[in-house]
């Protein structure tokens, strides 16, 4: 959202300085070379706004290259954070302030700055050779460009020089390299002053990390000096038109932490495993942007979690299925290309009728596509990308924090129906972070696993539960229940291999029906707002849709919104709900995949708004497109 200035007297002014202006929300983007520590800088700043009580939403924007040649445009790493005094759902469209540590960052990120926005650059890096490296014409320096200077408030700060001057001590023997590495903290100091955020907590963290964990107190001291120097620079340099403040948000009372989507998945799966009293086996093959889930779970051996870095995607899912066959909770995680590799094995789990969670953190495709960019383009692959009639349960998370809840839901549904679940998240959710009201674990219900008893004389491997349609989960080591499962079609009841035509039709029906039966235990879809136009979303577009809806309200346009977290099965009431609306608009980060499902399933007309940019919808752009769609396509 674009920040609008509110007169200082309208809210509490935290500073005596009359020059402090209070804003309802601010978005800031840090960018620089991938070695400049921009993710860390953004992360520290986010902690500062969190402690100040703001709501916030963050999004990193980094290249797939680990260390691209210094100073090149493709090596630029960015981190955007929006913080506000009210509830927000996105990291913001165009930012109010950009920090560019080098010309390449400046060049690639200027387009994300609002007109008239503040752009703080490390002037020292705008050298002839650096400008050339990122493709500026010889003799041209964008900082001297009149158009650019007229369009933005360009603040040229010689950060390299100032950092050196403030850090060098004659009596100390510190390398220039170590000093230069602190430039990001100098920049953080400036931004912290500009937006009136306390730096004490960041200093404490730097002391802890460098001083205690890394045992380099001298580096901790340098970083502390750098952030303070930046802060004091902001205070004394009179560089900026004003200092700004964003009041605390009125969030629900309680204890909060910051959480990213991938962290939430780690916590959700761990909670699910604990709640079903069954250890978790997480087998995965490293893939962007899902690897952090493997990293997170690998540290949790004290929760009996067994992680396994497999030789490939197929092995990973097979190990998870093997673990489920043996009675544990088998989980694998991947992104789109990996899901394609796993598809045959997921079919095996469908046939074996075993619980299995496949976490798919979608990225922009096809093929290798853009691994670090976000998209929602695996929906149809998730629904149908397997040989044969091969339905699986599909759930999708709508925010970083929601990944926690949906991971638990995925496990609950999988165990109940004895069927694989594909849990859809997105790169944009996985890496984004928001405040999260810490749940009280004791309020989360157990996930009940019914294992057939040794004494069950009626036991048959494929005898279904009348209510759930699931088969019994008898596990190796249980005497008397020895049985064989496999990918070949099963005889109803006995599970023996069968090529019988009638039986195949019956089993195909059963495999689909038990998923439909889950409609009884998933929440109905809820609609917010009163209008004859419904904006129907799924997954990570929720934040953009909510923000766009608020923007539309400001234009006196009312829409109703509903968001799908369960895609197979759909909520039981979805068809009825859709019938009530004259216009149904489905925004998604693909070419209209949910719209295709909705149209075919419910025979309703639905208008797609498609975003194929490999980034989240800008709320402003989405609001405009919704308005156009409501006008029957006329702008």
């Amino acid at each position: 959202m674009t920040a609008t200035e509110i007169p200082p007297e309208s809210t509490t002014n935290p500073s005596d300085d009359a020059k402090v202006k209070v804003l309802p929300s601010v978005s800031v983007r840090f960018c620089g070379d991938s070695g400049d520590g921009m993710q860390l800088t953004g992360s520290h700043f986010t902690d500062e706004v969190a402690l100040a009580g703001n709501d916030f939403s963050t999004a990193p924007d980094f290249p797939a290259e680990i260390r691209a040649p210094r100073g090149t445009t493709f090596g630029v790493s960015g981190y955007q954070v929006q913080f506000a005094s009210s509830e927000i759902h996105t990291p913001g469209d165009l930012v109010n302030a950009l920090v560019a540590m080098n010309p390449a960052g400046f060049k690639t990120n200027l387009e994300y700055v609002e007109p008239g926005g503040i752009v703080i650059v490390n002037e020292d890096e705008f050298t002839k050779s650096n400008l050339k490296k990122c493709g500026y014409e010889d003799g041209y320096n964008p900082l001297d460009d009149e158009v650019i200077n007229a369009s933005y408030k360009i603040c040229k700060v010689p950060m390299s020089r100032l950092t050196r001057e403030s850090l060098v001590r004659e009596e100390e023997d510190i390398s220039v390299k170590d000093i230069d590495r602190c430039r990001n903290m100098f920049a953080l100091g400036i931004i912290s002053w500009l937006y009136s955020r306390e730096i004490d907590s960041t200093i404490a963290k730097l002391q802890h990390y460098f001083g205690k964990i890394k045992n380099k107190p001298e580096i901790a001291a340098l970083n502390e000096r750098a952030i303070k120097a930046g802060y004091y620079f902001g205070e004394t340099a009179e560089f900026f038109p004003s200092q700004y403040e964003v009041a605390p948000a009125k969030l629900k009372a309680g204890e909060y932490r910051r959480i990213s989507g991938n962290e939430a998945i780690v916590l959700g799966l761990t909670t699910a495993s604990t709640k079903m009293h069954t250890p978790l086996v997480y087998a995965s093959y490293p893939i962007t942007p899902a690897s952090d889930v493997l990293h997170g779970l690998a540290r949790l051996k004290q929760f009996e979690i067994r992680t396994f870095q497999a030789e490939d995607e197929i092995a990973a899912v097979m190990i998870a299925i093997g673990a489920s066959f043996a009675g544990l909770l088998g989980v694998t995680g991947t992104s789109g290309p990996g899901l394609a590799l796993k598809s045959e094995a997921i079919g095996l789990a469908v046939m074996m009728e075993l619980p299995l969670i496949v976490v798919n953190i979608q990225r922009a495709g096809p093929s290798t596509g853009m691994p670090t960019k976000t998209e929602q383009s695996d929906l149809l692959q998730t629904m149908f990308g397997r040989p044969g009639e091969c339905p699986v349960i599909v759930v999708a998370a709508s925010s970083p924090g929601n990944c926690f809840h949906m991971a638990i839901e995925a496990v609950r549904l999988s165990v109940r129906a004895m069927c694989p679940v594909i849990f859809l998240s997105e790169g944009g959710l996985g890496n984004a972070a928001e405040p999260w009201l810490i749940p009280d674990i004791s309020t989360i219900p157990d996930i009940v696993v019914k294992r057939p008893a040794v004494t069950d004389e009626d036991y048959l491997p494929y005898k279904r539960d009348a209510v759930t349609g699931g088969r019994p989960w008898a596990t190796p080591g249980t005497p008397g229940l020895e049985h064989r499962v496999g990918g070949l079609e099963k005889q109803d009841g006995t599970g023996d291999v069968s090529y019988d035509h009638e039986n195949h039709a019956l089993m195909t029906k059963y495999r689909a029906e038990k998923i439909t039966k889950l409609q009884e235990v998933i929440p109905e879809i809820e609609v917010a707002g009163d209008s004859d136009t419904l904006i129907l979303g799924w997954g990570g577009t929720r934040g953009s849709i909510l923000t766009a809806t608020t923007m539309l309200q400001e234009r006196d346009i009312n829409v109703a919104t509903a968001h799908l977290h369960y895609i197979n099965p759909f909520p039981k009431n979805l068809g009825e709900v859709l019938k009530q609306y004259k216009t149904i608009i489905i925004p998604e980060m693909n070419s209209g995949q949910l719209a295709m499902l909705i149209r075919s399933k419910f025979l309703v007309d639905a208008t797609s708004i498609c975003n194929l940019h490999g980034r989240s919808f800008f709320a402003d752009e989405l609001a405009n497109e919704i308005e156009v769609a409501m006008n029957g396509g006329e702008a």
């Binding site: 761990t270 086996v281 497999a310 030789e311 490939d312 093997g322 489920s324 094995a345 008397g480 020895e482």
Partner: protein, 338 residues
Amino acid sequence: MTDVALPTYKAKDFASDQDVRWCPGCGDYAVLTAMKKMAANLGPKKEDFVFVSGIGCAARFPYYMDTYGAHSIHGRAPAFATGVKIANPELEIFLVSGDGDLLSIGGNHTMHALRRNIDINIVLLNNKIYGLTKGQYSPTSEVGKVTNSTPYGSLDEPLNPITLALASGGTFVARSFDVDVKGLTSLIHRGAKHKGTSFIEVYQDCNVFNHQTWFYATQKDSRAENTVALEQGKPLIFGEQNDKGIRRSGDTVEIVTLGDEFSEADLLVHDESNLAQAFLLSQLYHPEFPEPIGVFYIDDSRPSYDDQLFEQIHEVVESKGEGDLQKLITGSNTWTVE
């Protein structure tokens, strides 16, 4: 293991109620017989056995054992078996599959199971042909193999399962053949007792698509001349009259006739712990050499993957204590909204 008396089994206790559907005369029948005999005497209870397979004729194996079993998908059985083992290390896991399954589509997983030394037992039924898909050449077929898919002869060099297993870090690598039920039974038994991956290549006759391909090595009238038994600490002697031996010759080996010129003392003595020698022996091919049968190599010193995994989990629990979920969820960086 507890002191409770274990049930005693007979081989037939391990026969499932399913009709065996291999072609009459298939070498797989003998392996099934050997397996049931082995299982009856191995020690674990019936419910603790798991048979896993991929796809192919041999991969039907689990259906015929009255144990827990999983007939998985093509090539991926080693991964499935790995998942079962890390879920429940108490289980005794056998992976029975063919040369196409384990060396072609599943070559990658076979290699990785071996290098990890996960405690499973791989029995590779090598018939040098694709049977279930009706007779295409396999990764172990000889060059020039004429099949439906190679009417002018296959071009690719065959893969040697034993060499592959040794190179992959296998810690129990052996070879047997289908009709030697007694030898096979004891070899699989020995492999099962080995902690870590045991890998046994079984020369197996596909009497429909590749009949008699192994007969030089498996039939009574030719076996003695064309194979050499590997026995720990014993010289490599073979031949109808036990009159030939294998002697080291520079970097390789040669066949010598025992008598005036050479005695047993000149021969290579089998040493199951000698990897270089095992590799050399794996390179002996018919008809130039007798093909070795028995255990090529054992390394009992390497811990299995699963033992290490549970050791690691144990150490973490010891040092960190059992996980406190609420503490984990809360994390170390929180703030309170009033």
